[in-house]
């Protein structure tokens, strides 16, 4: 006789991979935005579609990093149970990086402008 299923018995690895992947994606957007703002060379490198400027590279590479991170983490954690507290702390920290490094006054502060 099967017992009622609870999530404690369901591996949370795929969910954790999606959460951390999203955190990495948000953090990547922030880091790339800051890098493009701070470095003329990086700004030029991120300009992959001229009408939209460096924003095209920031977002394209941010999405690529997010999807790759999600895919790799899912391959690693699928079917496993991982420590959600560590995943959440890291993910929310990366989300905060995404917010802060896209906020121009904070970018300027870090660059000493």
């Amino acid at each position: 006789m099967s017992m009622p299923s609870t999530t404690d018995e369901i591996p949370n690895g795929s969910g954790a991979a999606a959460i951390l992947g999203a955190g990495i994606g948000c953090g990547a957007i922030g880091i790339l935005a800051f890098w493009g703002d701070a470095s003329a060379g990086m700004n030029k490198a991120l300009n992959i579609y001229n009408p939209s400027g460096a924003l095209s590279g920031v977002t394209t590479f941010g999405i690529i990093i997010w999807l790759i991170a999600w895919f790799v983490l899912d391959r690693m954690w699928r079917g496993k149970t991982v420590e959600m507290m560590k995943v959440n702390v890291t993910s929310f920290a990366l989300l905060a990086v995404g917010f802060l490094l896209t906020f121009p006054p904070f970018m300027d502060l870090l660059q000493g402008k």
Partner: protein
């Protein structure tokens, strides 16, 4: 009654996709909160679950349509460079804002933040939709997962609010104009 093609696409981007996405947050937050904290008494039928999944998928589609229409349709018009000697900057919103110290920060802070932070919303909502569809009502059990789901929904809401608010202000001070004219109605 006329509208230019640039105006039309700006409305589609901001009101058609962005505002609709923003409006959907209240329902998503309420339903996900209910789903994740409803306790043992909370019953969700298969139909309710399917409707929530469709609702979240629609939000994800709207979120991606908003940011992609923004960056590849409207933004190039916003940052268009005027030919040398141009004195009327009304068709060049970025240059118009930067031409005066009274408006330059609408670009330097408002647009610069909006154009980047908006991208956090579709990433976050894609994750939220995936987890909700995969785990359903069972996300209420591991506290960590529901904390992350609700936290990222709120973060997506804040990012969308920042982008939407600055978008509205920017369109007031330096609207995206130009393109061919579409006649909607003729007056008497």
């Amino acid at each position: 009654m006329e509208i230019t093609t640039h105006d039309f696409w700006t409305v589609v981007h901001g009101m058609g996709f962005g505002a609709l996405f923003m409006l959907a947050f209240s329902g998503a937050i309420a339903e996900l909160y209910h789903l994740s904290t409803g306790g043992a008494s909370y019953q969700q039928s298969e139909r309710d679950r399917m409707m929530l999944n469709l609702y979240l998928i629609a939000m994800v589609v709207l979120a991606w349509l908003t940011v992609f229409s923004g960056i590849y349709v409207v933004y190039p018009w916003y940052r268009a460079v005027p030919p040398a000697g141009t004195t009327d900057l009304s068709l060049f919103p970025r240059r118009l804002l930067l031409s005066s110290g009274k408006t330059s920060e609408w670009h330097n802070v408002g647009m610069e933040w909006k154009e980047h932070v908006a991208w956090l919303a579709p990433i976050a909502m894609t994750m939220v939709a995936y987890i909700t569809m995969k785990y359903g009502r069972t996300i209420m059990r591991p506290r960590g997962m529901r904390t992350a789901v609700l936290g990222f929904v709120v973060a997506a809401f804040v990012a969308t609010g920042v982008a939407g608010a600055f978008g509205a202000f920017l369109n007031k001070y330096a609207p995206v104009r130009g393109g061919s004219t579409i006649v909607l109605m003729e007056g008497e």
